[in-house]
């Protein structure tokens, strides 16, 4: 898309913000990428009627004049795929922001033409095929170390036909140099590392698989209570200030995915800066390398052109699909799909389409559905297993979940983490409302937890959840009559729920130890709390007043488990369990002797 094209396909007739109408249109097709006017603004054909066309322009149209020429590029809006994506930061239509800054300075003006991938850099290519091998669409041709630890698998373009390798040689190549020659029915073809793929078309795979392993995020409320599977879809709706972005940052930092694609869609510039600042400094727990070495950022901040915001989530998911096809687990974060929907609404309004709910176009739901279905766990064309987990923030106006973007999102995701304003106001983070949230992956990932962590996991989780439910009902009574009026058995439920909420669910993103908890630690923490509950239940039956229980010194240790006990140390938990037993026994003895 960067080579200047000379093929004139029409003339500008009318300009209305990002929507341009063209006349005298010939030799073009729907979704073709075009360049508009002297400044060669990038646009896409979105409507054709006889000799007229409507173009959605991805850049600011200020100063564009009717009568300007429109040039065709012959391809739909596409992304460049190949080594060099990792660690980069792109705008919504995959223009590299670093290179833009180098050639244009601090501000982004229009008409920039820069290659998304570095054409100069040479990559060491190690072939995985030899002369005489047959290769087909998606076949792995060889590997390139994209980062010191990341193996980028070079694949044959899925649109390519089968062929026999006639020449292959190890060596250092630029991405547009031929690495392999194939003999195909059409003759000898040279293949290079660089591929292009149209963003609005899902990349093909062999077959869909069901999700079965969890995406371990280290966030207790997610992993233990509302887990998401690798290849799953999740939605995080929340009003402003409820911590959507922090939650997404936490997931990008600590998820055990191989690649993270983070899309800042219509959000704050400083948030992207924050990611750029944090990620190179933070280390991947598994691999001990900077997080930036597995991250690709797409930033279309709220002040950047609107139409490119619409394209940004497709750009992101296409890149995600490319890495999935290599057999990797990719996690995609989009913050936020509401801004994407609003961009859709604005363009639809300028096209004078009939609006459905709240001015959004009627096709909002089907577009959302199509997008989320591009996530999933698949068997790739080269018989590997890869997955895309899509986790998208939603910004409902007024924090009202009944609005249409949240409601449509709920129809297409299987994991719903509703953020709550009241919790956020009390600085209770992550402010995930456990009464409103759900995950449909519990059954699929249960066996993973049972095998990898503890066979009792599900049982424990259900029990804790039951206490939270009971607590929720009791809280309504407390609002009317106060806590002291309740019998001790019910007060114990409230105190246990409080322990679960304060000492387990609440997790600080800013505490070095608390920011991430391994599954084993999560399990043991909950086990300690539930053990306290069981022991307390027994004693309370013998009419020991509950305040005596709450005075036990071990409670302080329980409170501080999350910040005091390191991730791989299980001994302190045994000690706490033992202390619970000892201290309750002591209380019991004392109580009996008084009686």
């Amino acid at each position: 898309m960067t080579e200047a094209s000379k093929r004139i396909i029409g003339t500008v007739d009318m300009i209305n913000g990002p929507v341009v109408k063209a006349v005298d249109v010939k030799a073009t097709e729907m979704m073709e990428l075009v360049e508009v006017g002297k400044e060669r603004l990038i646009g896409e054909i979105i409507e054709l009627e006889e000799t007229r066309a409507t173009i959605q322009v991805y850049e600011n149209t200020t100063g564009l004049k009717p009568g300007s020429l429109i040039y065709g590029t012959g391809i739909p809006l596409s992304v460049e795929l190949g080594p060099g994506l990792i660690g980069n930061i792109y705008d919504g239509i995959q223009r590299p922001l670093k290179d833009i800054a180098q050639c244009m300075g601090n501000f982004i003006s229009k008409g920039v033409k820069v290659h998304p991938l570095d054409r100069e850099k040479k990559w060491p290519f190690i072939p995985a095929v030899k002369e005489g091998d047959m290769v087909g669409p998606g076949s792995i041709l060889g590997i390139v170390k994209e980062t010191p630890i990341f193996e980028h698998r070079i694949m044959l373009d899925p649109q390519h036909c089968e062929g026999k390798v006639v020449r292959v040689q190890e060596g250092e190549y630029r991405i547009d140099e031929p690495i392999i020659s194939l003999s195909a029915p059409k003759g000898i073809l040279d293949i290079c590392m660089l591929q292009r793929w149209p963003v609005r078309h899902p990349r093909p795979y062999l077959r869909r698989l069901l999700p079965e392993t969890p995406l371990v995020t280290g966030q207790r409320v997610i992993d233990t209570f509302f887990p998401i599977a690798k290849g799953g879809t999740g939605g995080i709706p929340g009003g402003f200030g409820t911590g959507k972005t922090i939650t997404q940052h936490q997931l990008s930092k600590w998820s055990d995915a191989d690649i993270i694609v983070y899309i800042g869609c219509g959000e704050r510039g400083n948030e992207m800066t924050g990611v750029l600042l944090d990620f190179p400094k933070l280390m991947d727990i598994k691999k001990g390398r900077p997080l930036m070495e597995r991250t690709i950022l797409i930033a279309n901040t709220s002040d950047m052109p609107l139409a490119a915001r619409e394209a940004s989530i497709y750009t992101g998911i296409t890149i995600a699909e490319y890495y999935r096809d290599m057999g990797y687990d990719v996690a995609l974060m989009a913050d936020s799909t509401s801004r994407w929907a609003e961009a859709l609404r604005e363009i639809s309004g300028r096209l004078e389409e009939m609006p459905a709910e709240e001015g959004f176009p009627a096709y909002l739901a089907s577009r959302l559905g199509k997008f989320y279905e591009r996530a999933g766990r698949v068997q790739t064309l080269n018989k590997k297993t890869g997955s895309i987990t899509a986790i998208c923030a939603v910004s409902p106006p007024g924090g009202d979940f009944s609005e249409c973007v949240t409601q449509h999102t709920k129809r297409f995701v299987r994991c719903f983490w509703g953020l709550n304003k009241e919790l956020a106001s009390a600085r209770y983070f992550p402010a995930i409302n456990y009464m409103e949230s759900y995950s449909e992956y519990l059954d699929s990932i249960q066996s993973w937890w049972e095998k990898e962590v503890d066979p009792k996991w599900r049982e424990l989780r259900e029990e804790a959840m039951k206490i939270l439910h009971q607590d929720y009902r009791l809280q309504r009574i407390i609002k009317l009559i106060g806590e002291d009026a309740l019998p001790d058995s019910q007060r114990l439920i409230i105190e246990t729920a409080k322990l679960i909420k304060d000492s387990f669910l609440q997790q600080s993103a800013f505490d070095d130890l608390d920011t991430y908890a391994v599954p084993k630690k999560q399990f043991l923490m909950l086990k300690v709390i539930m053990h306290f509950y069981h022991r307390a239940c027994e004693i309370i039956k013998s009419h020991l007043p509950i305040y005596r229980l709450l005075e036990m010194p071990v409670l302080n240790d329980i409170h501080r488990m999350k910040t005091n006990i390191p991730n791989n140390d299980t001994k302190p938990f045994d000690i706490i369990l033992q202390q619970i037993d000892e201290q309750t026994q002591e209380l019991e003895k004392e109580h009996m002797s008084i009686l």
Binding site: A101, N106, I108, F240, N270, S302, A426, G482
Partner: protein, 463 residues
């Protein structure tokens, strides 16, 4: 301010509200500036909203009253809207379009800048992390402002948002930094008295020579409000990124700005979204708010404090709602607190500063800052629960613990939040005060602070 160039057309086709429609034109660009001459040779200004090969739709900033179909003359300027930028603009007063209204001649500058600005490339942004001390405990301790942040004040009619903004301007400083700062003040549709209040406050504090004022008062044309904040931010960007000054931008009142936007949108016949506001309200507001920040390699910064009045005190109204999604937090004023005669009536619970965590802590404020402020939030939110309960069962029926919480809640409002309009508290003083009120609660209730911090600060302030 505008050079005379371009072709002049006589006669227009249609006038409707603030818009005029003109046909048989050639070579006009989208978003171009237009000069309009009435039959009495009065000059007005406008901007092209949409354009086709032979016609254009133009919004007129000074209103369309008195325009005639045959004799109105329209001249297209061949460029988008610009204002001159120079250091001489400090201490001056302009209208929304950047024309002087203080009876001095227009500033002379060779440099003109497009008022729409350009998006800052996210990779050259510098993450804001320099603590600004406002001298107000409720802000410094709980919702810390940092240099380069955009932190709006959500207020309601009749609440002292203007006094609060004036106090912030008077007292704001960066500890240990003695650099040049400037204030850019943009008024959109505010009352004459309010503008006067700000002006005399700037004069009293001696800041007036460092202030650039853009005034569009309630009786000025509403459409001019759309360009007022953009003119103001253009000079702010010049002062910050070209001249290395720390610029504090006050935008008041954003509600009037949004109303003007709705007015134009509906006269253009656009499809409305929530409450009649156009669907692009979010993007439009973002193009203003995102012009705050710092740039790597530039000494200066732009800190924005937009003020908006929430219609009917409703925080879910589209204006505060969309603002909250763009800005880095918000300071919410509360009518109940104002009724209790607490100034500043800042309701801490819905208030937030997103950049706070990076601007505080050891070396910047104090190590315990984050924990103690979280503790106050958590405890104060529990106070609200207890208050509801007390209003049902009566205060006497509460448990001892809950009674303590009520006592804490009162001290928090009366001693911590409340302060004088001219009272300046250092950060150390605010944090000590925070511990003093927190010490009303028993130690076991303070679970957001570390044991070490309790040992160091708990109940130490009373002596």
């Amino acid at each position: 301010m505008i050079e005379q160039t371009g072709k002049e057309y006589i006669g227009i086709t249609k006038v409707s509200g603030p818009l005029l429609f003109i046909e048989d034109i050639k070579d006009v660009g989208f978003d171009e500036v237009v000069q309009i001459k009435t039959k009495n040779n009065e000059i007005r200004h406008g901007r092209v909203l949409s354009v086709s090969r032979s016609s254009a739709l133009v919004e007129v900033f000074e209103g369309t009253g008195g325009l005639t179909i045959p004799s109105t003359r329209v001249k297209f300027q061949g460029r988008s809207m610009q204002i001159p930028v120079t250091m001489d603009m400090l201490g001056r007063i302009f209208n929304g379009m950047g024309m002087p209204i203080d009876s001095y001649p227009p500033p002379i500058s060779r440099e003109y800048r497009d008022i729409n600005g350009l998006p800052i490339n996210p990779i050259v942004r510098e993450y804001p992390s320099d603590f600004i001390q406002t001298g107000i405990s409720a802000i410094d301790c709980m919702n810390t402002l940092v240099q380069g942040q955009k932190l709006p004040i959500f207020s309601g009619s009749g609440l002292p948002h203007n006094e609060l903004a004036a106090q912030i301007v008077r007292q704001a400083r960066v500890i240990g930094q003695n650099e040049r700062f400037a204030i850019v003040f943009a008024a959109m549709g505010i009352k004459n008295d309010e503008a006067h209040m700000f002006r005399s406050s700037f004069e009293e504090s001696g800041a007036i020579s460092r202030v650039v004022m853009f005034l569009n008062l309630a009786n000025d044309p509403s459409i001019e409000r759309l360009v007022t904040p953009r003119s103001a931010l253009t000079i702010a960007e010049y002062l910050a990124f070209d001249k290395g000054m720390h610029v504090l931008v006050i935008l008041t009142d954003m509600t009037n700005y949004c109303e003007a936007l709705r007015e134009i949108a509906s006269s253009k016949g656009e499809i409305p979204s929530r409450k009649g506001y156009p669907g692009y309200l979010y993007s439009d507001l973002a193009s203003i708010y995102e012009r705050a920040g710092k740039i790597i390699g530039c000494k200066g910064s732009i800190t924005q404090i937009p003020i908006l009045t929430m219609p009917n005190d409703d925080i879910t109204h589209p204006i505060p709602d969309l603002t909250g999604f763009i800005t880095e937090g918000q300071i919410v004023l509360d009518r109940d607190l104002a009724k209790k005669r607490i100034y500043p009536p800042i309701n801490e619970l819905p208030s937030l500063s997103r950049l706070m965590n990076d601007g505080i802590g050891e070396g910047k404020t104090r190590k315990d800052h984050s924990n103690i402020s979280n503790q106050l939030y958590a405890s104060y939110s529990y106070v609200k629960k207890v208050e509801t309960l007390a209003s049902i069962i009566g205060e006497n029926e509460l448990s001892e613990k809950d009674k303590k919480y009520l006592e804490f809640g009162r001290a928090f409002e009366e001693r911590f939040i409340k302060q004088g309009a001219h009272e300046e508290r250092g950060i150390e003083e605010s944090l000590n005060l925070a511990w003093e009120v927190a010490s009303i609660l028993p130690k076991e209730e303070l679970i957001r602070v570390t044991e070490k911090q309790i040992e160091q600060y708990y109940a130490k302030q009373k002596d």
